[in-house]
Symmetry: C2
Subunit: 246 residues, 2 copies
Amino acid sequence: MPEPTPAVTAAVLVIGDEILSGRTKDKNIGSIAERLTAIGIDLREVRVVPDVTEEIVASVNALRARYTYLFTTGGIGPTHDDITADSIAAAFGVGIGIDERARAMLLERHRPEDLNAARLRMARIPDGADLIPNPVSKAPGFSIGNVFVMAGVPQIMNAMLDAILPGLSQGVPVLSETIEAGKLPEGAFAGGLATIAAAHGSVSIGSYPSMTQEGFANRIVVRGREAEAVAAARAEIEALLAGLLR
Amino acid sequence: MPEPTPAVTAAVLVIGDEILSGRTKDKNIGSIAERLTAIGIDLREVRVVPDVTEEIVASVNALRARYTYLFTTGGIGPTHDDITADSIAAAFGVGIGIDERARAMLLERHRPEDLNAARLRMARIPDGADLIPNPVSKAPGFSIGNVFVMAGVPQIMNAMLDAILPGLSQGVPVLSETIEAGKLPEGAFAGGLATIAAAHGSVSIGSYPSMTQEGFANRIVVRGREAEAVAAARAEIEALLAGLLR
């Protein structure tokens, strides 16, 4: 794949046993991918890890070192299995304690007498972190360094992204053109497509089969940051397919 | 999380730019997770990487060394962006070439005169690999060492898993009990739940909020391999919730 310069890159770390057991089906990866792509940030890697401190710490440190941004989802609730905040503090080697700003946010939802030890866990924030507001249920996420720590519930995760994205370095958005190849089999156009791909170094060309009730359907996607190059590749692909259908 | 012994563990590697761009929403992670869990294999990690050889090689080698099994999805079609088979060969340091068994499978679907260079790419199999049959569109997956290489189209991936799973070492299945906490907030039961979790080392207890049209709903899941321990933890959790509702 051609490398845009300077690229703004990202990784996602999904934290949670419930995704790995299959009990909960992740919906956040796809949403984050779409939203980052739309503002020109290249999502380069995703990992899903269990609720195990050492696994979270190792992945956070590997991914935050490698990409411009790291987004995590899950594990910031009030129960004993919510260990993300402590794991992030451990990854950064900083302390963690009750954050008064976070406590104030929780008090927008809970009466003081209901702010028990468990709920106060949601105000435990690593030292030096900034808070990410949660308009849905108040308990905040946080950012520290280039790491953004978000809730796992999709509605809350998306509300947190609403607050985060405007503040990020944005890249040049990728233009994406889809060419429907329909029932034309991949094996028929693959040779020509490889030639076109080789001739257009600044675009990436992918072929994506899917199964429909009528059998396979193929789609070709041209992606790139230079409009002329994308348009030129698209025109050549359309000519290739037209020639095969003739 | 308590560690069963001996555990049979697994990782999944999803290969494909289209997942990272958000254009295609992955459905395979959830299916594989469910099917492995059902036969007692613990899915411990998932990664999604782009169509870049070095990324695939690095992830394959990290994950196959660490877990009993590694399952990959995507990148085994006929087009230029399908680089999984070559990347797996590189990861294992073995050669790759046209496999006559794979060619014979392709000939079940294609006339000899239609088996062009692109389609023959789907018969390129790393040296020493076994084939995984593909009842849907014939082009096989393959296994080498503890790595199982499958298609990305969900219907084909699942058909390949049908062929793979009976041959694997299976673990003791995890028993999973779900207790509906309904609208009872996590913050109300989190303290008691932590005490119960600490007293039952052989089970893992998770609390999973979701948003419904009526607001938050919470579910508590108890997982473990010992029926008595799971039942005991469940009973204590039910008593905890009943006490809070009283």
